[in-house]
């Protein structure tokens, strides 16, 4: 019994540690959100609540943007949903660690699922912890706590944060996701589906740029569908 507890704790800590690069990158992003929220006339409580209840940076920013141009709650929610539809794919991709669990673990694990959880899969594979709930819970939980903290810091510091692009800080989140890609490579069989995914996004971004956020979903779905239905010999 205590053996299981020790194992769970060590997997939890391991997940939190492997999440660190994503946590650092998200911290910069979250601080920027806190800062922008205060500038958009959100109260401190509203800024924190948004980070705590939605836990999806890009959707928080776009909803904030919609509200600040006076588009109204409905438009803000719809714009946020367009970006967060991918969470459906994120938790589907996390099936190994979320399924066959007590319901509260499945719900909690799903609530903490983000793009960073998918990035965490590369290290989970290497550590053979793909099926560990506690590993992903450790990663998600540590990211969640930091996400709320940095929102608060951004909101408090307000305009005192220097221009992030000048220091390359806006690139941290992109870099960390790029760095996660090689670990997700399963072999040459991934090449064609990945080209389909990347190509779909590129075509949408070039020809119908206003739908780029839907491009993410379409790219992922088309790539996975290609993997499913190609001829296998």
């Amino acid at each position: 019994m205590s053996d299981t507890k020790t194992k769970n704790t060590s997997e939890f800590l391991c997940g939190a540690r492997d999440m660190l690069p994503m946590t650092v990158a998200a911290a910069i992003y979250g601080m920027a959100f806190g800062l922008l929220a205060i500038q958009a006339d959100f109260s401190f409580g509203q800024s924190i609540s948004m980070s705590a209840m939605i836990f999806g940076g890009s959707s928080q920013l776009i909803a904030l943007d919609r509200l600040s141009i006076g588009a109204g709650s409905f438009a803000a929610i719809v714009a946020g949903i367009a970006l967060n539809t991918r969470f459906l794919l994120v938790t589907a991709a996390m099936k190994n660690s979320l399924l066959g669990r007590p319901w509260w673990q499945t719900a909690l694990g799903a609530a903490l699922a983000t793009d960073a959880s998918v990035a965490l899969m590369q290290t989970s594979k290497r550590r053979q912890l793909e099926h560990s709930f506690w590993y992903f819970f450790g990663g998600g939980f540590s990211l969640y706590i930091v996400w709320i903290l940095v929102t608060a810091i951004g909101a408090i510091l307000g305009g005192q944060i220097p221009n992030p692009p000048a220091f390359g800080l806006d690139f941290a989140i992109i870099a960390v996701f790029i760095a996660a890609i090689p670990g997700l490579w399963r072999g040459i069989m991934d090449l064609a589906p990945w080209v389909v995914s990347g190509g779909t996004v590129a075509l949408i971004a070039v020809f119908v740029p206003e739908y780029t956020s839907w491009g993410l979903i379409l790219g992922a779905v088309f790539g996975a569908a290609f993997a499913a239905f190609r001829n296998e010999h």
């Binding site: 990158a25 006339d41 969470f87 799903a110 790029i178 760095a179 670990g183 990347g198 590129a202």
Partner: protein, 113 residues
Amino acid sequence: MLYLGLPSQHFAMNTEIWITILGLAIASFGMRLAGVIFVSRLPQSGPLARALDALPGCLMVSLVMVMMMKGGFTEWFVGICVLLSAIVMKNATVSMFLGVGLIALLRHVLGGI
């Protein structure tokens, strides 16, 4: 009337913010749950299982592409450096700091900022 007008306008904005937060929170959690429920009903083999196994990589590639499509030459150059560094060193933290440092340097040299 003026005295009553100002606070009520503030109240409306305030309500709007809370409605947005709650609405998007419920929708986001709903989609996170829907993914798990959806996947729990799928067969464990066959085409759909193959799609699911391919999904993490396809999702990450799409996400990176969405972000990179907004970038210019500098971002693409540094992005490729980060990818190569991650392949060689297998270390996300080092690769991230390399990317941040390199892009800051290039932006200053090329005068983008």
